[in-house]
């Protein structure tokens, strides 16, 4: 099998049925046949990873290969050619392009001969196989000077120049095509499906057995205390849903804002039950509209629709600091007894929470913006850190279906923890003992992450 692993790509690979012939020639005992075939299977699996031998080209011109880049929108072409033995730091490669095979070639890139290797590609092994240090790679993309058009054939040539000689490759052609799937994201899809399945199974199990232990989250336990305190003091409860909007996948604040509105529903119900006053200033009109509906529903659910005021939710400004100034003014004038800072925040987090702290209000914050967490932790009485914000809905409602998702998340975290420990041990042992296969294992592992 080692003969296979060491096979140079320049040699002719073994034909089907050659394995049987090899066994006969080597006169392997029957009891070793299983081991032999197991080795064969593993060898074939690892062939793309470790199998390609050094292919340094001592001959004349670069042996250029052009191909459509996998998993893209049809806007780039890949070029690769083996390293030449005459390369030096002063030598350069020049890549030229033409729309016709016999037409004039336009230079599109020039770079030092000791740069641009296959190992620079960030794609995973199941798309790229083994990435080699002895093969140059260059990705041709549209620039301001020229534009690659989809499904159009282009011709390429690479010229090697070291000052004394200039070697031109053969002219090769390729056309960029749009792909339907980006196979490089297969790992991401696999993990999503596995995690989604874990969550759904956890929910199903929670329906059967609803008694799942939930650790205490002091910030959520304190909601009752905060609203009660505001009622006793006759001061309002201030609730902020953060600076986020329901902006879709490109908006990092969307989920935190949804979580904040869900908690608002519970807080509003308690406020209505106790007969306190709720103030909810907003930065985003759509969030305001959703919150108006949720607060109204909460007052109905608490049996106090008569105490609901339309101006409980109000818009201030979409501008970050205009909003901050207005809320700071509100805190200083009305002196709410309880301040809730839930959702996604930016630089205004400290300006808001510190102003609240100076008025002596009980403050509860919750955010997944990790850069703002230190500010909330130093200025608030309780802080929901990261995922605790998302867990609030399940924690407050105790609905088995929602609690089941928390169990699913914990299983996901446990698996990730194990993966990280194994990966850390693998890379550490690989570095200490310089064992190549451990490094290869880590590379496979790293691509799957």
């Amino acid at each position: 099998m080692s003969a296979f692993i060491g096979l140079s790509s320049g040699e002719t690979p073994a034909l089907p049925g050659t394995e049987t012939l090899m066994m006969r020639e080597l006169q392997l005992p029957r009891r070793h046949a299983g081991v032999f075939f197991a080795c064969l299977v593993w060898g074939l699996l690892l062939l793309p990873v470790v199998g390609r031998a050094q292919e340094t080209d001592a001959s004349s011109a670069p042996r250029l290969e052009a191909f459509d880049m996998p998993g893209d929108a049809g806007d780039s072409i890949g070029l690769r050619w083996p390293v030449l033995t005459t390369e030096s730091k002063t030598a350069v490669y020049r890549v030229s392009l033409s729309k016709e095979q016999t037409g004039a070639f336009t230079p599109i890139a020039e770079f030092a001969a000791t740069t641009h290797y296959e190992t620079d590609i960030s794609g995973p092994w199941w798309v790229w196989g083994a990435k080699r240090k002895d093969v140059h790679f260059f990705q041709v993309k549209s620039t301001s000077d020229f534009r690659l058009e989809r499904d159009t054939t282009y011709f390429f040539q690479v010229t090697f120049s070291d000052g004394t000689e200039s070697l031109k490759s053969a002219i090769v052609a390729a056309a960029p095509h749009a792909n339907l799937l980006n196979w490089a994201k297969l790992n991401n899809f696999g993990i999503l499906v596995a995690f989604g399945a874990t969550l759904l199974v956890s929910i199903r199990r929670a329906r059967v057995n609803p008694h799942i232990f939930l650790r205490r989250i002091p910030g959520l336990d304190a909601v009752e205390e905060a609203v009660g305190r505001a009622t006793e003091m006759g001061r309002p409860v201030l609730y902020l849903t953060g600076s986020g909007d329901f902006g879709g996948s490109s908006d990092p604040s969307s989920l935190a804002t949804i979580a904040a509105t869900v908690i608002l529903s519970d807080v509003a119900k308690r406020v209505a039950t106790y007969g306190a006053e709720l103030r909810v200033p907003h930065r985003a009109p759509i969030v305001m509209a959703v919150c108006q509906e949720m607060v109204r529903e909460a007052y109905f659910a608490a049996g106090r629709p008569d105490t609901y005021r339309e101006d409980t939710n109000f818009f201030i400004s979409g501008d970050q600091f205009a909003y901050t100034a207005a809320v700071d003014g509100l805190i200083l004038r009305e002196k709410p007894a309880a301040n809730f800072f839930m959702g996604y925040y930016y630089a205004e987090s400290l300006l808001l929470a510190e102003t609240g702290a100076t008025t002596g209000a009980i403050q509860i914050a919750g955010t997944d913006a990790e850069h703002q967490l230190p500010f909330f932790i130093t200025t608030c009485d309780y802080t929901l850190i990261g995922e605790e914000l998302y867990a609030a809905s399940a924690y407050l409602s105790r609905e088995p279906v929602l609690v089941g998702t928390l169990r699913g998340q914990d299983i996901g975290k446990g698996i990730l923890l194990c993966v990280m420990v194994i990966g850390t041990v693998a890379i550490t042992l690989g570095e200490i003992f310089s064992v190549p296969w451990v490094k290869t294992l880590f590379q496979l592992f790293n691509d799957v992450k």
């Binding site: 792909n179 879709g248 109000f314 600091f321 400290l350 997944d368 990261g386 998302y390």
Partner: protein, 210 residues
């Protein structure tokens, strides 16, 4: 009625949720243009939503003035500022270069924003003072770490204690990054779980109760 209020939004969420999850894995230009199209729809909806916001703003401040609530004068200032800005905007035809609208934006609005932002320095100082009082072991660790980081980040620190910069870098790159990544992992899993709950209609409290 219940169909339009409950079932239809849930179906729409399921359909769009699955479509745009799949879109992430499809690099084809048709997939990209679908995303762009929906983003444009989002911008149009946001544009109309501003009317909602302005309506709410005018209503709440009008009520304050009408009831002569505490600080109603500020509501008057708000209306005056809004009218001046709107008037200048229409007068300048929406252009900012060399117009009264541009002047108001650059020398009033941006200056006010800068003033608010600069307040952060004082707020950081007062928050740090409260947090760094070494009353508990955790606060003491925070205090020591903060002193080391601050010391290593100023040129004088490295001049007085050689190598303090490396200590600072280690604190920022190892324990600090580890803690941040720990939080990020939890947030990411929580985010995926929340998305799945919303897409499949398991979490529906944002629609109000049944």
């Amino acid at each position: 009625m219940l169909f339009w209020k409950r079932t239809f939004p849930l179906l729409l969420t399921l359909l769009l949720g699955i479509t745009f999850t799949a879109q992430y894995y499809v690099p084809h230009p048709a997939s990209e243009s679908l995303l762009t199209e929906v983003s444009v729809w989002g911008q149009i909806i946001s544009g109309f939503a501003i009317l909602l916001g302005v309506g709410s703003l005018i209503r709440s401040h009008y009520v304050k003035i009408k009831r002569r609530e505490a600080g109603w004068g500020y509501s008057g200032v708000m209306f005056l500022s809004m009218l001046i800005m709107l008037g200048a905007g229409f007068w300048s035809g929406g252009k900012t270069e060399g117009t009264s609208f541009g002047w108001l934006y650059s020398y009033v609005f941006v200056a006010l924003q800068g003033t608010m932002f600069s307040l952060l320095a004082f707020f950081v100082a007062s928050a740090a003072y409260r947090a760094f009082r070494a009353r508990t072991p955790e606060a003491t660790v925070l205090l020591v770490a903060a002193i080391l980081v601050m010391w290593g980040r100023v040129p004088l620190g490295e001049h007085l204690i050689s190598g303090i910069g490396s200590v600072t870098e280690w604190i920022m790159n190892v324990p600090n990054t580890a803690a941040q990544r720990g939080i990020l992992i939890g947030v990411s899993l929580g985010g995926i779980a929340t998305s799945i709950k919303i897409i499949f209609g398991i979490e529906r409290s944002y629609l109000g109760k049944d």
